[in-house]
């Protein structure tokens, strides 16, 4: 029994055993630090959900021998790309397979977070980190100068002390706000609500319907077009071993403004003539939803303060167009951990020392990409035609191009052009392409 004057002390505290948190705990524990990994769910990842597929470059960066540790992956992503749905039931597929996507281990694997995150946190525990589940961090303990020196939890005698705290609390960034690193609550216009169904189907059925040779091949597709009622949003399709994950994400403010019921929007999408046959006869295994911080660079909090750093969704580390987020979380968790290790060496946990974390993020793809894509979320808000007009146009254009109507080709091309201009004036279309370039390239 601990008496109340015995403080619980660690070398470092990580809040949240998701992808960022467990990565941070893993790296610090490996360096010999005594790490507490505090998780509010029953299990690591108990509160987590994604589309999804997970990128291996980030896993390998933290855990080079990850493939020997039997990660609970589903199929590898051997085919990826865009699907475009039109309102009249058409589907244009623009996917790539093989080539770089045929490498082994694959660039990405489908996974279920409820299973993957448990394994991921186990790797941190194997390095010696102590996973403390069923415990919610409510606030911070500070010294007289305001430096963070620990956390307060929801349990009796629940104060835990450490000179450095890495906050990986996820999208609901209450603690990041308590640190004073961001001065406002989440904004519905910058948050996507993603929801999906996992539908069980026999392995052979999945192979046949998605044109996959065997269970060693898998498809991950972003679905554009007639998915989200013309509102900013994107759908997705992922093939697991014996189930298919289908869903979509929409901006939360649109869901609220139009009083949409997510399951109705999802049902509508799943009844699209191109989607329905893919999941026909399957058994619904799971229905779930989660928020995604898609505000991008402009929504990122300050990333550090004296004694604390923030990583992952809590820091808005998401690249919505490329479905990146899990990889950023893992690498950011690692970089925060390396900064904490360095701080321990110096015995200095001041904001100045921890500013190294931001410098490390700037050196890597994380802050580079976040900055380059800083206009992307605004771009989608102001360009609904990318959700609506263009995917329908592409279906139309290809449909006409590959049909023989017994008419001169000059008329055909005129018709194709007409199917564009009926949807969007030509000069506006050129402008759209330019603003897309601007949003993606960061011009």
């Amino acid at each position: 029994m601990n008496t109340s004057d015995e403080k619980i002390r660690f070398d470092a505290i990580v809040v949240g055993a998701g992808l960022a948190g467990a990565a941070a705990a893993m790296v610090m524990a490996r360096a010999g630090l005594n790490v507490a990994l505090i998780e509010r769910g029953q299990k690591a990842g108990g509160k987590n959900y994604f589309g999804g597929a997970i990128y291996t470059h980030a896993i390998g960066e933290v855990l080079p021998d990850y493939m020997d540790r039997k990660p609970p992956f589903e199929r590898p992503v051997t085919e990826a790309g865009f699907w475009m749905l039109s309102k009249d039931g058409g589907l244009t597929k623009m996917t790539v397979q093989g080539g770089k996507l045929g490498a082994e281990p694959a660039d990405a694997y489908m996974a279920s977070r409820a299973i993957f995150d448990v394994w991921w946190a186990e790797q941190a525990q194997k390095e010696g980190a102590l996973l403390i589940p069923k415990t919610t961090v409510l606030d911070f303990i500070r010294d007289s100068a305001g430096q963070v020196i620990g956390v307060k939890t929801d349990r009796a005698q629940g104060d835990v002390y450490a000179p450095v705290v890495i906050v990986c609390e996820g999208v609901n960034n209450l603690l990041t706000q308590k640190l004073g690193l961001i001065d406002h609550d989440l904004e519905p216009a910058h948050i996507a609500l993603a929801f999906k169904q996992v539908i069980a189907l026999p392995m052979d059925t999945i192979n046949a319907r998605f044109g996959l040779p065997d269970e060693k091949h898998g498809l991950a597709a972003s679905v554009l077009g007639d998915v989200s009622l013309g509102l900013p949003g994107m759908g997705f399709v992922y093939t697991n071993n014996t189930s298919v994950s289908v869903g979509l994400g929409m901006m939360l403010d649109a869901v609220v403004e139009y009083r949409l019921k997510p399951y109705e929007v999802l049902q509508r999408y799943l009844r699209h003539p191109a989607i329905a046959p893919l999941i026909k006869g399957g058994q619904l295994m799971e229905y779930g939803a989660h928020l995604i911080p898609e505000g991008g660079y402009r929504d990122m909090p300050k990333l550090f303060t004296g004694g604390a750093m923030v990583a992952g969704d809590a820091a808005s580390m998401v690249n919505a167009l490329h479905w990146e987020g899990t990889n950023m979380a893992i690498v950011a968790g690692k970089l925060a951990a390396e900064t904490a290790i360095e701080a321990h060496k110096r015995g200095d946990f001041s904001a100045q020392t921890l500013s190294q974390y931001e410098a490390r993020l700037k050196d890597r793809f994380i802050l580079k990409d976040m900055k380059q894509y800083r206009n992307f979320s605004r771009f989608l808000e102001t360009h609904p035609e990318f959700m609506d007009a263009y995917p329908s146009f592409i279906n139309d254009a290809l449909g006409q191009f590959f049909s023989a109507y017994g008419m001169p080709k000059k008329t055909l091309f005129k018709n194709i052009l007409g199917s564009l201009t009926s949807r969007r004036q030509l000069f506006k279309a050129v402008g759209d392409m330019l603003s897309m370039g601007r949003a993606v390239m960061g011009w």
Partner: protein, 279 residues
């Protein structure tokens, strides 16, 4: 110094369990394992009394090594020591063999550190027999108080315990000399949200493992399948009762529907007996 012993069992969470319609067996696959809820409340009561009187709570569980998580949960809830009684030779035990093994282990612990009160859940939610607690009491020749809802007092000086127990008609207040065995209803104590130091201790806690060989206290004829005379002939789900007759008040009107229902009840002899009771 108060010494409480609590027997805990790991059970499948029967709130979401299914029964295989073909075999009649429980489908345990994918069902989370939990500490038997009645045992958790019994443990919570033991820990409350430990905090009042000062002393120690010892937990005993019999089952495979995977029951370690249940021992850890007991430590999280305030147990000081946990024994896991585990051996392949115990497999297939019915309540007779189980109560024998537990009685032998408890006797061994008692000889080292005398026990004042033995806390059991009133029954496990998987088997629902409510036999193991009483079985242990009989084997150890202890006073047994079943279906306890409140422990009014444990007096270590007078060596007595006063317990309220629930029966179908009333609450009995029972006094017994110590050591005594109590089987507990959920009302006995609230399961606490553990303090952080207890949770942290539990995460790395390794139970004391007791086997047939490392104790040498078990008679081979009394354990496992050989010590278990119970044979399950058949398991199944009871058929759903036939639905009763419906009188649609929208068709016949509310008053006519009520009158018809009363007439039926009277004809069946239900109504007179109810009214007779009220008079």
């Amino acid at each position: 110094m108060f010494h409480a012993l609590v027997a805990v069992k790991q059970v499948p969470d029967t709130t979401n369990i299914r029964i295989d319609p073909e075999t009649g067996n429980l489908v345990r696959e994918g069902v989370p394992a939990i500490m038997n809820p009645y045992d958790a409340h019994a443990l919570a009561s033991a820990v409350e009394w430990k905090r009042k009187l000062g002393g120690k709570v010892t937990v005993v569980s019999m089952g495979p090594l995977s029951f370690t998580v249940t021992i850890r949960e007991a430590v999280e809830l305030g147990a000081d020591v946990g024994y896991l009684v585990t051996d392949r030779k115990f497999a297939g035990a019915d309540t007779l063999a189980t109560s024998y093994v537990l009685a032998q282990v408890i006797q061994m612990i008692h000889e080292k550190e005398p026990i004042d009160v033995l806390f059991f859940g009133k029954q496990a939610i998987d088997g629902d027999t409510a036999q193991v607690g009483p079985g242990v009491a009989v084997r150890l020749d202890l006073p047994i108080i079943t279906y306890a809802v409140k422990i009014r007092d444990i007096d270590l000086a007078k060596r007595q315990i006063i317990v309220e127990r629930k029966t179908e008609r009333w609450t009995e207040v029972v006094e017994a000399p110590l050591p005594a065995l109590v089987t507990c209803e959920k009302e006995i104590a609230e399961v606490p949200f553990a303090p952080l130091p207890d949770l942290i201790r539990s995460l790395r806690y390794e139970p004391e493992v007791l086997t047939v060989d490392n104790t040498g206290i078990f008679d081979a004829e009394s354990i496992g399948v050989r010590g278990s005379p119970t044979v399950v002939f058949k398991m199944g789900t009871p058929p759903l009762p036939e639905p009763g007759e419906k009188i649609n008040s929208r068709e016949v009107g509310v008053e006519a529907a009520v009158a018809a229902a009363f007439a039926k009840a009277e004809a069946a002899g239900i109504l007179t007996s109810v009214l007779g009771g009220v008079k």
